[in-house]
């Protein structure tokens, strides 16, 4: 008893230290475990539930100010923007018509319509209510969570393009890792040349890094090339815009091995996003498809089996 009293501070320190290390180990193991749903640890989930109303209330003034500023800026340019959009819509309609005609002519329209049904996923609008406080890491907190059918592994997009991936979920919140995060990797292709590589976060600079998987031929990649998700790996759907190649770093043998990419999404102004309520088949195999949107029939069929 004397021992406990004498060393109570050291014991408290050691106990809390071990608890913290255990939390870290469980989080690490949970993220990598096959069969788990990468849910937020129960304690973190409980703490997030406590902080959720405070966080939403605290985010209101910032979002309100941002909306006001955006609204004022939009009002100033509305006439020119309207004219530009009309012209763009007309051009796109014309292009769409031509493409449809070409597809009908080639007889692929029916098959593509079937593929589209399989690809399309319901989009859940979500608001960014918090940002990563750690330097060197880039995550955001969304106001939609497990209650709203959000699960780890679901892609997060904006009107501009791909923003990131849901990594953790709590009942009323979700954490999404942005493309900027050094732990993020997206299999991508150059839209023009189909050169394939991996898009990785390059830190606070706001640029991404496109690391090419294969040796490129001259002209495979140029500044201004659009980069889209390839669909390989099965985490992100194919064809989502990621960004534009900004400049090329030539290697000693002349063939570039990596290139900086300016992201399509303005991460500094990220406020409203959409969560694609569908995980890829690969992640469903890894994490299990229970309670997934669009999988209700599958789940019930599985239960019946």
């Amino acid at each position: 008893m004397d021992f406990l009293l004498r060393f109570r501070l050291w014991l408290l320190f050691a106990g809390l230290l071990l608890l913290g290390l255990w939390f870290m180990q469980s989080d690490r193991a949970g993220a990598a475990a096959v069969g788990g749903d990468s849910q937020t640890p129960w304690l973190q989930s409980a703490l997030l539930s406590v902080a959720e109303p405070v966080q939403k209330a605290a985010a209101l003034p910032g979002n309100w100010f941002h909306n006001l500023r955006e609204g004022a800026a939009a009002l100033l340019n509305v006439r020119e923007e309207n004219a530009a959009l009309r012209a763009r819509t007309a051009a796109l309609e014309e292009e769409n018509l031509q493409l449809r005609e070409a597809l009908v002519a080639s007889g692929h329209l029916t098959r593509i319509a079937k593929m589209r049904e399989g690809f399309e996923a319901p989009l859940l609008p979500a608001e960014v209510i918090g940002w990563d406080v750690a330097l060197g890491l880039h995550s955001v907190f969304l106001d939609q969570g497990r209650r709203d059918r959000v699960r780890a592994g679901m892609p997060v997009i904006t009107a501009q393009g791909l923003a990131g991936l849901v990594t953790k979920t709590a009942p009323g919140q979700a954490r999404a890792m942005l493309l900027l995060d050094p732990n993020s990797a997206v299999d991508a292709i150059i839209q023009r040349s189909r050169a394939r590589g991996s898009i990785r976060g390059a830190g606070a600079g706001g640029a991404l890094r496109f690391e090419f998987l294969t040796r490129l031929r001259p002209g495979d990649v140029q500044a201004g090339d659009v980069v889209i998700s390839s669909g390989f790996g099965g985490v992100y759907p194919k064809g989502i815009r990621i960004g534009v190649v900004s400049k090329l770093a030539a290697a000693s043998d002349g063939a570039p091995r990596h290139a900086p990419v300016q992201p399509a999404v303005e991460f500094g102004r990220l406020e409203h996003v959409f969560v694609m309520l569908k995980r890829s088949p690969t992640l469903n195999i890894l994490f299990g498809a229970g309670n997934m949107v669009g999988d209700d029939e599958g789940a019930s069929a599985g239960a019946a089996r």
Binding site: L16, D27, G205
Partner: protein, 189 residues
């Protein structure tokens, strides 16, 4: 005169610790929201400031527990592993407590300097822990500049936060520190 606290037999120390806990949650939320508005680099580390204030104003056991809770609060709003900040804050509490005992951290400049150094040490510790658990984190000159900006802002915010923490702590203390202040000469540092 019998106060409400006496009437309902409310423990002042319990209220004081509850207030510290609420301040910890509020600091974590405020920091996360402010990081979205100003960027992570231009947001002071409020929870580290609370940790330093706790090292100064609370006992070692209470301070250790609060340091752990402050870390968990930071973990809630971070892409880091859950528990990473908690372990880092727990380890930082010891030098903060020693500094609080050895130096006069109630003065503005020493407190601000300690806050600056604590931000640096915290980041180094977080990276070391992340590295040990195979969590990638990018570090370059931009991150170094961001770290200095955050440390500087934290140091600037340190004196008013310490004043607020002292008021909060003394208000619900059985032996208010304000009653023990013997020097009445105004001193800036």
């Amino acid at each position: 005169m019998e106060t409400l606290l006496d009437k309902f037999n409310i423990n002042l120390a319990a209220i004081r610790y509850l207030l510290w806990l609420l301040a910890a949650v509020f600091a974590a939320v405020l920091q996360s929201v402010a990081a979205g508005v100003f960027g992570a680099a231009f947001t002071p580390d409020f929870s580290l400031l609370l940790l330093l204030a706790a090292a100064l104003l609370l006992g070692p056991a209470g301070g250790l527990c609060l340091a752990f809770v402050l870390g968990l609060g930071a973990d809630m709003f971070s892409g880091a592993l859950f528990g990473q900040h908690a372990v880092a804050r727990l380890m930082l509490f010891a030098p903060a407590r020693i500094a609080a005992q050895q130096l006069n951290l109630r003065r503005k400049l020493p407190f601000a300097a300690a806050a600056f150094l604590l931000v640096m040490a915290d980041t180094a510790l977080l990276f070391a822990l992340g590295d040990a658990f195979a969590l990638a984190a990018h570090w370059g000159w931009r991150e170094t500049a961001a770290l200095f900006a955050r440390a500087l802002l934290t140091a600037l915010c340190a004196p008013p936060l310490l004043a607020a923490a002292v008021i909060m702590n003394d208000w619900f203390s059985e032996y208010p520190q304000r009653a023990l202040h013997l020097d009445v000469q105004p001193r800036f540092f």
